[in-house]
Symmetry: D2
Subunit: 337 residues, 4 copies
Amino acid sequence: MLKIGIVGATGYTGEELVKIIARHSKASITSLSAIIDKPTKISDIFPSLTGKCDVVCKELDVDEVSKSCDLIFLALPHRVSMKYVPQFLKNGKKVIDLSADYRLSAGIYEKWYDAQQTDSNNLKEAVYGLPEIDRDKINKAQLIANPGCYPTSIILGCLPIVKQGIAKVDTIIVDSKTGVTGAGRKAALPLSFPEVNENLKAYKVNTHQHKPEVNQELAKVTKKVVDIVFTPHLVPINRGILSTIYLKLKKDIDTKELASVYRKFYRTEPFVRVSSDRLPEVRDVVNTNYCDIGVTVSGSMAIIVSCIDNLIKGAAGQAAQNMNIMCNFDEKEGLIT
Amino acid sequence: MLKIGIVGATGYTGEELVKIIARHSKASITSLSAIIDKPTKISDIFPSLTGKCDVVCKELDVDEVSKSCDLIFLALPHRVSMKYVPQFLKNGKKVIDLSADYRLSAGIYEKWYDAQQTDSNNLKEAVYGLPEIDRDKINKAQLIANPGCYPTSIILGCLPIVKQGIAKVDTIIVDSKTGVTGAGRKAALPLSFPEVNENLKAYKVNTHQHKPEVNQELAKVTKKVVDIVFTPHLVPINRGILSTIYLKLKKDIDTKELASVYRKFYRTEPFVRVSSDRLPEVRDVVNTNYCDIGVTVSGSMAIIVSCIDNLIKGAAGQAAQNMNIMCNFDEKEGLIT
Amino acid sequence: MLKIGIVGATGYTGEELVKIIARHSKASITSLSAIIDKPTKISDIFPSLTGKCDVVCKELDVDEVSKSCDLIFLALPHRVSMKYVPQFLKNGKKVIDLSADYRLSAGIYEKWYDAQQTDSNNLKEAVYGLPEIDRDKINKAQLIANPGCYPTSIILGCLPIVKQGIAKVDTIIVDSKTGVTGAGRKAALPLSFPEVNENLKAYKVNTHQHKPEVNQELAKVTKKVVDIVFTPHLVPINRGILSTIYLKLKKDIDTKELASVYRKFYRTEPFVRVSSDRLPEVRDVVNTNYCDIGVTVSGSMAIIVSCIDNLIKGAAGQAAQNMNIMCNFDEKEGLIT
Amino acid sequence: MLKIGIVGATGYTGEELVKIIARHSKASITSLSAIIDKPTKISDIFPSLTGKCDVVCKELDVDEVSKSCDLIFLALPHRVSMKYVPQFLKNGKKVIDLSADYRLSAGIYEKWYDAQQTDSNNLKEAVYGLPEIDRDKINKAQLIANPGCYPTSIILGCLPIVKQGIAKVDTIIVDSKTGVTGAGRKAALPLSFPEVNENLKAYKVNTHQHKPEVNQELAKVTKKVVDIVFTPHLVPINRGILSTIYLKLKKDIDTKELASVYRKFYRTEPFVRVSSDRLPEVRDVVNTNYCDIGVTVSGSMAIIVSCIDNLIKGAAGQAAQNMNIMCNFDEKEGLIT
């Protein structure tokens, strides 16, 4: 059994990681840590875990975790991850970092996260962990930068159409809607129930920090400068992202043909489902690691709808998928319920 | 007191009309009708109305309603309205029709509503009831085609920027999100709580019947062909529409300047509020007749957020605003709580 | 115009008070205060108030508020109110306190609120502000202890049946369900959307601080010791309380007769509606000052359902009703929308 | 592999059954049927099942189903089940019926379900499928009457305290709150999102058809007449039941001791968890087959909180648990995710 440590176990992503590893046939949790008053059973923090996982969650001790684990998931805020990643790597551990710290080039990171990326050596070696882009690199990586939730939904929604040159990349408009767990498990007035419930809002219009992540990855695959227009919205649901993506077509293609392009592109992917006839909805993917994609062509415009569970394919599930790839496990292990 | 009849009183729009007229100082309800098993007090159908309005709701009898009323609101499904409108007009009544039957030119109507507009005479005389476009016409009208909910939010969001030639009109992308009352008060599996709750979906992608209504009205004010790209989405809230509108700018302008254009444009409007510093949210407008608009410029793109309560400014409130204009009442009467 | 000050204007109750006074024909807001970083227009804190009230909210200055106001509403946490109440009273002002500080006898307060009641002089003169118990006392009062939200729903649900000796008072079981605004406007993990949404929980089982308030008031009207069993529950709605009350009957009575007792008892009350045929639901009373009550007799048990909007009849609306009574205004002024 | 047929596969319970069997290591779905326009893949009806189960759902043909299946789950409305159960039994099949048709004695059924129980022979042999009462009987049964959702939560909440004579059984008051899937997957105005959302209501006060089911089962274990007072409430969540149960104690016992009684009673039960320190909440059990129970003693009253997922432990999960017991499978197989 692969011995797993989860740092930041008391957030929503941490909770999902615990659930996935608890049902994994080839990995088991040996360490849970978080900022915490006193050592506490994780099932006392998340009572739904009672009987599934009773490991005690403690304050982080890097050496102790390194000794007891083979692979560490870091579910920490950005800026915090890069303090610990070098230590775990030096101790010879595999690391999957769910923060943004190793996703962007140093200059871009500094601009969008208002912080210095202080671990340039490991940044160079980090692999962006979207299996649908390049799972060979993931397989060989020691450090995975696990993608953001919005970028996962957007990049998977765009990959086939931009990679194959069917749409222009200079005017991609992305209108995303997310559930509230995307903001993390924390006390904050704007996340309070009466502030969110029966409400809808746009926020960080074209200034959200996930925008450069999408630009960077789409630029890599298209070899062109990409600068999406991106408006995220908060909606009163717990989980799920629905991204509606508007692209100008470069050639004449109808809905059926475009769907066929997508289906072919993702043919062998275990966690991307391309809809036909019917557009995907958030509830189709909640509690799953799937990204569901539907396409519509209308005139010269392609309208793509892409849905994920922000905590699973958008975070913990994709992290576990990356672990499976890194460790030569069945890629679906632990991810099908 | 102006004597008011409401036909279709048992829907959500009918309920809101009853509430508004019940608090109006110069109008009172004399007739309520609907498809109904037996005459029933409206407060037995909507118990929240108890003490506010106890008028009995009956099956429609056009002559009886005509005798007892000066002005009739029709809150009926499209195709049904145009059966009754000619009769009420012939009886010399003022009519405010909340269906789509008198909003579009005959050919367009037929194409999008899959039905013949059979009342071409009155169609010619009908005035599209968006006060912010032309309240003089409304003032003189006998028949008002009350705008759709999506079009109200979209047209008001676009009017200043397109009328003043600041943005291109050939690539307007509109991503709208609506609450569930927009679909009407009815038994339908897709509207059932567990189907809607914890879910998000796009529907009728670029094929929604409100698209030609926006195109038509924006074409009128710009004297150009307009063909928006329009994706409506259903979100689990009771009331409210948030439309996010993406337009390409034709000239160099920043957020502050654009906000100033909007503010100037709507300076004298009693029910349009232009936000500064902060984008509008649905809860700012729920239960009000306001349309709140916020603007953002990012590069060559203007991103407009426009919020209304779909049942008030998107239906009953705007209808009452039109009544106030037609009858030379204070335009805000009955609409401020 | 009566000049009104609201202390604690930035909470949900404060917001409702502002709305009510803004539409009141005989009172107007001259002062808003709260713990606040810098003076801020209340409409910048609650954008829905834009155009209704643009008074600036400041840090509290008791003397300044006393100079500019005739009557002060205190929407403050318990323990805090009793610091300011004596000062406003000494300055000759009428005070309506929405905290628990003046509701209970000193010993009971100390036990349930874990704090000393330090203003015993004024405590003696304070009048419990439930108009349905004794509006003459309210009319003559200088200081009102505005009732708690749960107690309002429970006491009104019990008054007729216990006052007339129809049910036993030694085994009253109260199972209440509340919306989340009842917990106040604040940052707290247990109030965060994903923690509350799709969840139900009981809390403070038979230990909630509103229990002695109900006991005290029912004891006063029955002249008997009352000790209810009280379980509050949190449900994912913004507003509303539904209390289900179980009482053992002392005599043979059927549902119709009991309803008739209730109807007679509340005949002249402007804000209590007794349902027949149908039980009240939370949506019937949301955004209103009504308490809706329905009764069922089953064998020797009476089951009473009592619904209020916790922020209106359970707080701000009742406070305004008390103001109307104290100032000889029409009791419904400002409270009907 | 045990071959499974599910009749009534297009309801919420059917959907959950498909999910459970799809992950079961010793059972697989060979037949799905329902009232349906034309044969349709179940994953086209429930897109979340795509990739998990693509069996085609057809109109029911009893003989065909009997040929292809070893065990049949009937997820049908009451009155309908008893038409098919005799045929499947005659064909030698094991049957788990999720309707109420075989739960009650004939006279009681007739009174509460307003229909004749027409299959008295099999009624005699049917075993009430609550494993915590008597799993030996279930093990030997050919026909299981799977318990109702409310009764499961209530009976499990009461069993230890009433069986051991700690509380009186003549004054059990049960206040239950349920999510909306409990009403089934169907088009109905009262289930429409805007009618349920932001609302709370009691319904069928002490007249709900699940009341006699609880009475009957508690009478069996206590050998006393039981007549609970039962008020169900509808709350705006998709899934979950929380029952708050009030019982008069017959002897002096404190919370800790009572919790210890419960813990001992359910010690060996795989799907009952007794909380300590903290009361259970609905989210602890959603998507699981657990019943979580918390107890509080206050004076002479025991207050029990019992939570289940109405679709899992309250329906499909318990049905699968019964299948596991009938077929000598591990009782937890397919039920842990």
